[in-house]
């Protein structure tokens, strides 16, 4: 097992996520690659929780459907996930809460009284997850010391005696496994190996780190899944990092306060999901009209309305493309993984400043909360570009805040400097900012603002194409489906099917020429996205005139799996 799927399942409140994270960190520190995700209902206690991680010796980009190692903390876990097990899978069964019944043949069951062991060693029932981890570590041949360090870090805010107790019960699980199972049953899948140092982080973490590195000083967010971990991360260290986290009374106050902070010179960011963005739409247009830089993180989850609050989807593309009245320049980025979350967030702050307009980072629950092992970002490559700013001296002379220029960009003065004052105006305004309704002025100002997108279009990066550049089978996706497509390409290549894959992470302005040429040079195309209407396929048709016939649309709230893509391509290629 040098590439396996690990799943721990049980009741909400049983420490599923922390146990999953501890094992993921143990794998990471043992030199392996990790991709991890948790699934939970919109409840604090009582629902069914699942943490799933793929652990491999080579770089990986997504999960898979089959489960190779299951820790079943209760009967529900057996009933719901027994059928997902791969042939020869390993199950660590909590014999205090579940019975060994109904597993497919060939599965190796290790029954362990997890609760009894936790309690016998001075722990509470809740610590059964760590007992299971101890046993898992034994079976996978990992180093117990690495597990200890991971427990230390995950529980770093707990009292030392609590941490020690967690380690003690993990040891009990390890010892139990050692006494009751044989050496031949150990797999060695998690043996420590030498490898480049990596970090394990979620999309939210990557966005937060990038915001800090980009000099974001004002972050306003009203709590909402899936961006809550951004709030906890940044609020905990805001003062240390020289920034402010502001919890507004609603998303309307959130975006308006961020626009206010930005207007007075701060790099500012808001984060929300579709429902909160609905409340932000009026001020989204305000930022466009008043030409105020702003970064908006929109973590999609399935709607409409409350929808599936803790699941994932890509149903807000059309919404962010068209939200708010009339036209204004909006920039929409859709990072595909943790690395892109980091680098495109840096870029978002630069673009917002340079074009003095709002930039949306369109992510989703799966990307926001999934953890992936990545090589630590090279900080020296972070470049801050604040765009065209009026000098202090020039602000003392006469100038026009909304000066009409060829690029559409007016040199930006700063509120509060000694010198000539200026105004931001949500009314149509003249170049000085004063309200002005004449026909000539209206046309000139609309054109000036929209010209910023034309300027950007000339310098924006082209979408990346992965796989075999000469292949005639083309795949297109955007945002977080990237990982599943890359994995599918690998599987297909192993079967002798060559594909190339265009990933869209710049959705507005839209890279129409690159997409059109990709489409025209492919014999068959499969579009993959996570909404029912094929929103990006519709956008492609609008921008290129080309209708993509084959759509793989997934809208059940679950992340798309590589196997589904492989299956569709196999069908397509065979038909041909």
């Amino acid at each position: 097992m040098n590439d396996f799927i690990f799943k721990i399942a049980g009741e909400a409140g049983q420490g599923i996520a922390s146990a999953g994270l501890i094992l993921s960190k143990t794998a990471l520190r043992s030199g392996h690659f990790v991709f991890a995700s948790s699934e939970y209902p919109s409840l604090i206690r009582g629902g069914h929780n699942v943490f799933v991680a793929r652990i491999a010796e080579e770089a990986i980009h997504s999960l898979r459907s089959d489960v190779d190692l299951l820790i079943a903390l209760n009967q529900n876990a057996v009933d719901l996930h027994g059928k997902e097990l791969s042939p020869g899978a390993v199950v660590i069964l909590n014999s205090d809460k579940a019975v060994d019944f109904g597993f497919p043949s060939g599965v190796n069951i290790f029954s362990i009284p997890l609760i009894k062991l936790a309690q016998e060693n001075g722990g509470q029932e809740l610590m059964m997850n760590n007992v299971a981890l101890g046993a898992t570590i034994f079976l996978l041949g990992a180093d117990f010391e690495i597990l200890t360090s991971a427990i230390h870090d995950i529980f770093s805010s707990a009292k030392p005696e609590v941490i020690d107790l967690n380690i003690k019960v993990a040891r009990a699980g390890f010892d139990f496994a050692k006494e009751n199972f044989t050496e031949s049953q150990r797999s060695g899948s998690l043996k420590a190996k030498k490898a480049a140092k990596k970090i394990l982080m979620s999309g939210n973490d990557a966005i937060c780190l990038a915001a800090v590195a980009a000099g974001c000083k004002f972050f306003a967010a009203y709590p909402m899944t899936p961006i809550n971990s951004m709030i906890s991360y940044l609020s905990a260290q805001a003062k240390k990092l020289g920034m402010v986290y502001f919890q507004p009374e609603d998303e309307i106050a959130g975006i308006n306060s961020a626009i206010g902070a930005s207007s007075a010179g701060l790099r500012s960011m808001v984060a929300t999901s579709g429902g909160g963005f609905s409340l932000m739409t009026e001020a989204f247009g305000l930022a466009g009209m008043a030409e105020v830089p702003l970064v908006i993180v929109e973590g999609q989850r399935p709607g409409p309305s409350t929808g599936l609050p803790t699941w994932s989807g890509q149903g807000d593309l059309r919404f962010v493309l068209h939200a708010s009245q009339d036209d204004f320049p909006r920039i929409i980025l859709a990072p595909g993984d943790q690395e892109e979350c980091f680098w495109q967030t840096i870029e978002a702050f630069n673009l917002a400043d340079k074009y003095q307009t709002p930039v949306v980072i369109l992510v989703d629950k799966f990307l926001c909360e999934s953890q992936k092992s990545v090589v630590a970002f090279d900080e020296s490559k972070v470049k801050i570009n604040q765009g065209l700013r009026l000098s202090k001296e020039d602000q003392k002379k006469d100038y026009l805040r909304y000066q009409i220029t060829e690029s559409g960009i007016s040199p930006r003065p700063v509120i509060g400097r000694p010198g000539q004052t200026f105004i931001f105006n949500s009314d149509e305004h003249d170049q000085a900012g004063f309200s002005e309704e004449s026909s000539d002025n209206r046309k000139a100002m609309m054109e000036k603002r929209m010209r910023k997108l034309t300027t950007l279009q000339k310098e924006m990066p082209q979408p990346q194409v992965y796989g075999f550049p000469e292949a005639t089978t083309g795949l297109i996706s955007w945002g977080s489906t990237k990982g599943a497509v890359l994995e599918a390409q690998k599987t297909l290549a192993d079967q002798g099917v060559e594909t190339r894959f265009l990933h869209l992470n710049y959705l507005n302005p839209f890279p129409a020429e690159a997409v059109e040429s990709f489409l025209r040079n492919s014999q068959q195309i499969l579009m993959i996205e996570q909404n029912i209407a094929g929103q990006a396929a519709g956008l492609i048709r609008e921008k290129t005139g080309i209708k993509i016939e084959n759509l793989l649309l997934n809208y059940d709230g679950r992340p798309i799996m590589p196997e589904e893509i492989v299956k569709r391509i196999e069908t397509l290629v065979k038909i041909k």
Binding site: R29, K197, K198, I199, L200, D205, L209, V212, A213, G215, K217, F218, A220, K239, G242, V244, F246, P248, E249, D250, I252, A253, N256, S257, A258, I259, G260, A261, S262, S263, A264, G265, L266, R267, S268, E282, A283, L286, A290, A376, F377, E379, I384, Q386, V414, I415, G416, P418, G419, Q420, T421, F422, I423, F424, N425, S426, D427, G433, F434, S435
Partner: protein, 282 residues
């Protein structure tokens, strides 16, 4: 009233002749001049309504936002640059209708902002529907039988929500309004100044003479006494009190929220190493 001054722009004024907005505009400029402020030390944030046109006439740094949202805009700006005198210049429909929630929360938080409420008891820019402060029974374009609802009491709401400075002035008494505005801007914390503003075009009930028959100045009033302030704030009808109802000293939002309460956040360098932060993810 100063006719030409450094706080006046060259823009043509479109308010109706006799509009209460002229009095508020004049009192604001007088207050700034009296305090020795320059236009570049002030950031005036406006909502939408007749009052919002002032962005074109009052020469300071300015931002006209969307309807009802001046207070969050102003709060963000104050956090960014604590050295600015931040004014939220708002209307009754604007701030108490669409923006009511923000008034409650600004009162709780206590940012050092002065909120000047142009209260004409009507939606005048849309030619005369009732606002939250219209008197019960007032006949307007959309209430042929008279307003059914109780009027909103901005002073009582602000006091109950924790505002640290609550006052009322009258647009027809510029010297007194100037005095109140000076106190409000000097107050360290959130100051609400409710300004009775006759709408000469559409409000034929709450006219200059209607107010003049009823208004009186609070005298020998203990503005530190919250219960008394609340009681006075409920007085409306035959007698309408003006002056400072309530004032207390307490920490401002910025003093508590800013990483360095003595530094201007917008002047801090952007570059920051994330090396240590990255290490936590190993």
């Amino acid at each position: 009233m100063a006719i030409e001054d450094e706080f006046k722009t060259n823009q043509k004024i479109t308010w109706c002749l006799g509009c209460g907005n002229f009095g508020i505009w004049a009192a604001l400029k007088n207050a700034f001049i009296e305090m020795g402020l320059r236009p570049d030390q002030i950031f005036s944030v406006y909502g939408i309504g007749c009052h919002g046109h002032m962005i074109n006439y009052l020469k300071t740094y300015g931002f006209e936002g969307v309807h009802g949202r001046a207070l969050p805009l102003a709060t963000g700006a104050k956090i960014a640059n604590k050295s600015l005198k931040v004014m939220a210049i708002v209307g009754d429909g604007d701030q108490l209708g669409e923006g009511g929630n923000h008034l409650i929360h600004a009162s709780r938080r206590n940012p050092d902002i002065t909120c000047v409420l142009h209260n004409n008891q009507l939606y005048s820019l849309t030619v005369g529907q009732p606002s939250p402060t219209s008197d019960k029974g007032a006949k307007t374009r959309s209430t042929p039988e008279g307003v059914f609802d109780q009027p909103f009491n901005p002073l009582a709401l602000a006091i109950a929500s924790g505002a640290s400075f609550v006052a009322r002035g009258f647009a027809g008494d510029i010297p007194q309004l100037t005095k109140i505005l000076v106190e409000a801007v000097n107050h360290r914390g959130f100051a609400l100044v409710d300004v009775l503003q006759p709408c000469v075009a559409l409000n034929h009930l709450n006219t200059y003479s209607w107010f003049r028959e009823r208004i009186y100045n609070l005298e020998n009033h203990d503005a530190k006494n919250k219960v008394l302030a609340f009681e006075k704030s409920l007085e409306w009808g035959e007698k309408i009190p003006l002056g400072i109802f309530y004032q207390e000293e307490r920490p401002t939002l910025e003093e508590q929220l800013l990483p360095d309460k003595d530094a201007i956040l917008a002047e801090q360098p952007l570059e920051l190493s994330i090396e240590k932060l990255l290490a936590e993810f190993r």
